[in-house]
Symmetry: C2
Subunit: 356 residues, 2 copies
């Protein structure tokens, strides 16, 4: 327990000025205030900026070793290579690091935690680092984890509908620029017309995303898989503690600003019923069941954006497999998909300090 | 053989003024000209309009029994209830009807034909009617059918990314109107903001489709399934002649003007290799294999729109199942998904007349 006189742990937010950082500051201002001092840390370029946190202005300081002096918990939302370098530095000073990058997720000595699914894992952290999962994994894992706890999962087939903010502010700016080009035109009806109109303005995406869908996210891995697809498979297995789970994923970018959606085909170890699945999802923490097609109710990004839970709908038992369920899920990729899950893990850790 | 002096069959196009009808007239003007007279037929409201066909102007006539006098083949692209009433009228006069509606697709006495997959089925037509498949089925069935012929299909999991023109001109107009509202705004970042901006302007869709994805297409069937999802399952089984095939489908509308995409998880009766699958798809009629992620090559609607083939990419063997393949497919829903398949079937039938 550190320097804070009120007995509350000291927090550092590393990467406070990014798009996930902005949501993190909102969440820290809204959640029950369990923290003592909160230090906002970013690259030297952003040092000196003032950000609003818990109703007050806080000056951003530059990332260097001394910012971790007296810190109990640090949330990292920075690129993989920055996390790889700096999380061990913080951990070596006794800080518990909660890292939102991919740098440590598959490290066997780093737990990968989704508080609704495997909170216990956060306590065993040999390197002093806890990882938060990828946004696409987080768009469905809370709902899938609740169903797994009841039925026992044997196979997942996931197709994503990923928002452009998953590629950061540049992703959002790119979509907005492209939408301005295509609004009010006849584009989208002849071969290559959208590509010609957009020209080189594809930003972080390999192809135009306005009036289009792009079956690619991340970088190329072996045998044609994308890094994003491998993350969803590997992280799902680790979070659920099912190293042999059959998982097939295809990741597709869509022209949505924020909120990842996914179709999920889930097979279980034995027969399932929609009634029982509904009962589980209706009471699962972090899940909203929004599923009444007769009344026009099913989740869309327009519903889920800006909210905390995983929205679940279109629940059907597979017609040709009594052990299968189909669902459609939506989750805000900047909230549960990033900032919220990081904050929830940090709050789990803070409870240890406060309880101590 | 009918009244045409040149020995070529006479064709009627019923529903010539709709959005699929417009593409049909293009195709009839571009393909090898095997037809004698072509009559353009529509509702009484559209009678008297002149449309360009094979470089000449043709006057649209109103749908009534006499328009089928002397006709050999009729292509129908009209609503289900119009087809249900008028296709039997035409058939009773000896006309071979090729119907693009859902009215007869599951009738055991009506073949459901995709010329690349089951051309032989077109010859057995006890009611004088041949059905063309649904646009979403057609977005993937040519590629899946080619793989089935080699490997023997045992299971399909399909998630669609469906264009708004699948809902006709009203669908396209709705997306364009919504895009004009959201272009240049900060919409899409807070709960319900897109819905409030769009208001009642959702056209044929239950929810806003700009900056959104909508997991619904068609009408409500039993147990939460949509009619579109049932069509993909039932039609796939019928076309492939696999009445017990396991099929799980989730249909989702996306803000794309034209071209349906789908992710396909396909399991086969025995082990598959990507090399063999590539070999099959590279030479399959009606398929373009566009699959080199290292060079940024994978299909998107912006590539496929306005073209005839099914574009296939992102080919991967399922990581956890040696009998599984993952693919991403794109097909123009107005061309192969509707007008082109109808024209191809009619051309098969015309060949019987010409060969006779």
């Amino acid at each position: 327990m550190a320097s804070n006189p009120a007995g509350r742990p000291t927090l550092a937010v590393v990467g406070a000025t990014g798009s996930v950082g902005a949501v993190l500051l909102q969440i820290l201002s809204q959640h029950a205030d369990i923290w003592g001092e909160i230090r906002l840390v970013a690259s030297a370029r952003s040092a000196g900026r003032k950000l609003t946190l818990r109703g007050a202005e806080v000056e951003v300081v530059a990332l260097e070793e001394s910012v971790f002096d007296g810190v109990d918990v640090a949330m990292f939302d920075v690129p993989d290579e920055v996390a790889a370098e700096w999380a061990p530095v913080a951990a070596s000073k006794g800080v518990v690091v909660v890292d939102n990058s991919a740098a440590f997720r598959m490290d066997p000595d780093v737990p990968l935690v989704v508080p609704e699914v495997n909170p216990h894992a956060a306590r065993v952290r040999p390197r002093g680092i806890i990882s938060s999962a990828n946004c696409t994994t987080l768009s469905m894992i809370v709902a899938v984890g609740a169903l797994h706890a009841e039925f026992g999962l044997s196979e997942l087939v996931v197709s994503s509908y990923q928002a452009v903010s998953g590629a950061g502010r540049a992703g959002v700016e790119t979509l907005r620029a492209q939408l301005s080009l295509v609004a009010g035109t006849e584009l989208g009806t002849s071969p290559g017309d959208v590509r010609r109109a957009v020209g080189e303005q594809t930003g972080p995406f390999p192809e135009p995303v306005a009036l289009n869908v792009v079956p690619w996210a991340g970088s190329l891995r072996e045998d044609g898989w994308s890094s994003e697809e491998m993350k969803v498979r590997d992280e799902t297995r680790k979070i659920l503690g099912l190293p042999d789970l059959k998982v097939a994923v295809t990741c597709v970018r869509v022209p949505v600003v924020t909120t990842h959606s996914a179709t999920v085909h889930a097979r279980f170890q034995s027969e399932v019923t929609v009634d029982k699945a509904r009962e589980i999802l209706a009471t699962a923490p972090g899940v909203v069941l929004f599923d009444n097609p007769a009344a026009g109710e099913f989740p869309t990004p327009a519903d889920a954006v800006g909210t905390d839970p995983t929205w679940v709908g279109r629940l059907r038992r597979s017609l040709d497999d009594p052990a299968g369920l189909e669902l459609f899920v939506c989750g805000d990729n900047l909230r549960k998909g990033a900032a919220l899950n990081t904050a929830q893990i940090a709050e789990l850790v803070a409870a240890e300090f406060i309880g101590a």
